[in-house]
């Protein structure tokens, strides 16, 4: 990591609401090796230790994904759609990307998953540049579920989930026991075991999304990126999806980055928020620190009050849309 200034509003010396996670997140984005001399107080010292501990403690299972000095655009656009100096998806935590339509959340997610080659900068997965990894090798470490997915209607859920094993199978290899076990696990975890023989075309929107999530789970990756997995779903299925994500993190130490439209949902489920505005990072950190009335006004253009003392995370009561 390079010694970049944290974006405005995250003041790294400020201790945040719930200590450990805030400090850990702060430590990830501060260059612990070169910077401590500048901030000579005890706070910075403890951050260095936590950062070191976090780095040593990691390595076995959880993976960190970070982008450095990124500029991402599409062939059809002259200017980059997303520019950010540093973005970190901390290992073994849930990070939610929030922001209004067109703020570049999905673009950033596609760049982080190497679906979109950045014009500048690099994405590093657990110390390795993702562009240096083979496509299948990357797909064994990092799973991505796109926003809209189309499958042939007559495909069964089980067959769909088996496609998640694609990166684990050679060209001529047939299904082995590992594949079968991974598929079984994925079906269980996503709660769609009873739908295994159903045609994807006959499922409801929510069941379909869970089936697709099962497919990504069968990839058995350490990092999982989900692009708006709850949009268009009813409340029951939204919660089902988010519970799967939480289980993944808690039981398997999977690093998750998820684009969410509903900032209230993001505040409830995520360990970290990354708020985006006009293709840049506006703020990041734990929900209690990021979700403020100021953020809702500046980023979402909504007049709202925030109850940050609520036990389930900051609670937002929107009042009205702010005119241009």
């Amino acid at each position: 990591m390079t010694g970049v200034e944290p974006p405005e509003g995250t003041g790294m010396d400020e201790p945040a609401g719930d200590g450990t996670e805030a400090t850990k997140a702060g430590a990830e984005r501060t260059d612990a090796e070169t910077e401590p001399a500048e901030s000579g107080d005890e706070q910075a010292g403890s951050e260095v230790e936590v950062a070191a501990a976090a780095r040593n403690g990691r390595g076995t299972t959880a993976c960190e994904l970070c982008g450095e000095d990124l500029a991402v655009g599409y062939p059809s656009t002259d200017e980059p759609v997303v520019e950010c100096e540093s973005v970190v998806v901390p290992a073994g935590e849930i990070t939610a990307l929030v922001g209004p339509n067109g703020s570049g959340k999905s673009t950033l997610l596609r760049a982080l998953s190497n679906q979109l080659e950045p014009e500048r900068g690099s994405v590093v997965l657990d110390g390795q540049d993702v562009q240096g990894l083979g496509t299948k090798e990357l797909a064994r470490k990092l799973g991505l579920l796109s926003q809209e997915n189309e499958a042939p209607g007559s495909l069964t859920v089980e067959d769909l989930v088996y496609h998640g094993r694609y990166p684990h199978r050679g060209f001529f290899e047939s299904v082995d026991e590992d594949d079968a076990a991974a598929v079984e696990n994925a079906l269980n975890l996503a709660g769609v075991t009873h739908l295994r023989d159903a045609d994807v075309g006959n499922l409801s929107g929510g069941q379909k999304q869970l089936a697709w999530i099962a497919m990504v789970l069968a990839q058995e990756t350490d990092v999982l990126l989900l692009d708006e997995p709850t949009t268009f779903l009813d409340l029951h299925h939204q919660l089902r999806v988010m519970e799967v994500v939480r289980t993944l993190k808690e039981e398997r130490d999977v690093t998750v980055a998820v684009v969410l439209h509903d900032i209230g949902q993001a505040a409830r489920f995520a360990d970290n928020l990354i708020a985006m505005k006009d293709g840049e990072l506006y703020d990041w950190g734990p929900p209690r620190k990021v979700v403020t009335e100021e953020l809702l006004r500046d980023v979402f253009r909504v007049d709202a009050s925030v109850d940050s003392e609520s036990p389930t995370g900051p609670h937002i009561s929107p009042h009205r849309a702010i005119d241009e």
Binding site: T61, P75, S113, Q115, G134, T135, K136, E137, L138, A139, R140, G143, L144, L145, S146, N149, E150, A151, P152, G153, S154, L155, E158, D159, L160, Y162, H163, G164, Y166, P167, R169, F171, F172, V175, E177, A180, A181, A182, V183, E184, N185, L187, R196, D197, Q219, E220, T221, D222, E251, R252, D253, V254
Partner: protein
């Protein structure tokens, strides 16, 4: 990811299901198609200029003189010289066998036409099925991506301008199709291709090549050249022989095996480009390789029968309606249903206006058009797989 929750018993329905994909719909399709081919063959060998009864025809087909003498049977499929060389190498008899008149007619004239029809049918059907996955469009066929126009143009060029080289016509036709497809791919390429761009580029190339073809017709001064050109560009099995079988067979076997192996790639491609890519597929490379297999199959068909339309379009479509969109089943279905359609159509082409024969491509067009009309009226969404 930890795998602590895995258990040995957590092996699902796949464990015992090595042939799980072989379900009732596929079996009935395969059996039905095989019966149609058999019936078509029966009709083809029984009727013709030299009349014989059905009993005589079938006696000729199962003539022990053919089936018990490997040198005769092998001679048909690999050529006499190669057979002699091979059989004398392994120490078997190479003596020539005298066949009855009926057997000679059936085996030398009528049966090879059926065999060519079988090969052409499976090639075109599988080729169409692959192109439909590559473009993710049910309306794609070997010919929408420029193959037919390229082959047609080269056929006309050879017949009209370079008439001394007609011996290489099959090879040229296949080459023309391949080159046209490469042009289409090149036009469609802009930071990678997309299904829509491929189809549009195919239309552009077909239009230009079509105009050139029409222009060439005006240069032809001999009516027989024009007739020959029409037979090639509409697709015909008239006059096909064991030589055509030997020409198409190795490429057919190769492309059918490759398409079966590639069926999983085709299935993943159907999930969409984004998903395929996030699963670690090099989409562009796979798409090009799959197109190569489809071109190989289409070329093998074009080289022996010219451009038979509609088979590559409707057969995958009918098979998909019966067995679903899984490509393993689809390819197997096409390998049987393609021949069924082509052999049946050729019965019509050869016998409907007897003694005159019409190109089989006209019959497939006459059958294919109404079938598509029916589909268009019946289905809400036609096009997407």
């Amino acid at each position: 990811m930890s795998s602590d929750t895995r258990t040995g018993t957590a092996v699902g329905t796949r464990a015992g299901g090595r042939f799980g994909w072989l379900d009732r719909s596929l079996v009935s399709l395969v059996v039905g198609s095989a019966l149609i081919v058999l019936g078509g063959a029966l009709v083809q060998v029984s009727f013709g200029a030299y009349s014989m009864t059905i009993g005589q025809a079938w006696n000729a087909v199962f003539d022990p003189a053919v089936w018990t003498n490997p040198q005769v049977l092998l001679g048909f499929f690999v050529g006499e010289e190669a057979t002699t060389a091979f059989l004398s190498a392994v120490g078997l008899s190479t003596a020539s066998v005298d066949l009855s008149k009926e057997s000679l007619i059936v085996w030398n004239i009528r049966l090879p036409r059926v065999v060519v029809g079988v090969l052409v049918g499976m090639n075109l059907a599988v080729s169409g099925a692959i192109f439909q996955a590559v473009t993710r469009n049910e309306l794609a066929s070997p010919y929408i991506l420029g193959v037919s126009s390229g082959a047609g143009l080269v056929i006309l060029l050879t017949l009209v301008v370079f008439s001394g080289m007609t011996a290489f016509l099959p090879l040229f036709a296949a080459l023309g199709g391949t080159v046209a497809f490469l042009i289409v791919y090149g036009i469609a390429w802009k930071n990678g291709t997309s299904p829509v761009r491929l189809v549009l580029a195919g239309v552009i190339v077909s239009t230009v090549f079509g105009s050139l073809q029409t222009g060439l017709y005006l240069l032809a001064d001999d009516i027989s050249v024009v007739q020959s050109a029409i037979a090639w560009t509409t697709g015909s099995l008239t006059g096909t022989d064991w030589e055509q079988v030997r020409m198409a067979l190795p490429w057919t076997v190769l492309s059918m095996l490759l398409s079966l192996v590639a069926s999983r790639q085709l299935n993943v491609l159907l999930l969409g480009e984004k998903t395929a890519k996030s699963l670690g597929m090099s989409v562009e490379r796979v798409r090009f390789a799959l197109s190569g297999i489809a071109i190989l199959a289409a070329s093998a068909a074009i080289a022996v029968a010219g451009i038979v339309g509609f088979v590559g379009l409707i057969v995958p479509h009918m098979v998909r309606n019966i067995v679903g969109s899984d490509y393993k089943r689809l390819v197997i279905g096409c390998i049987f249903a393609g021949p069924a359609l082509l052999v049946a159509a050729d019965v019509g082409a050869r016998l409907a206006l007897s003694p005159a024969q019409i190109p089989v491509g006209i019959v497939t067009g006459l059958v294919g058009g109404p079938y598509f009309l029916y589909l268009m009226r019946k289905k809400e969404r036609l096009g997407e797989i």
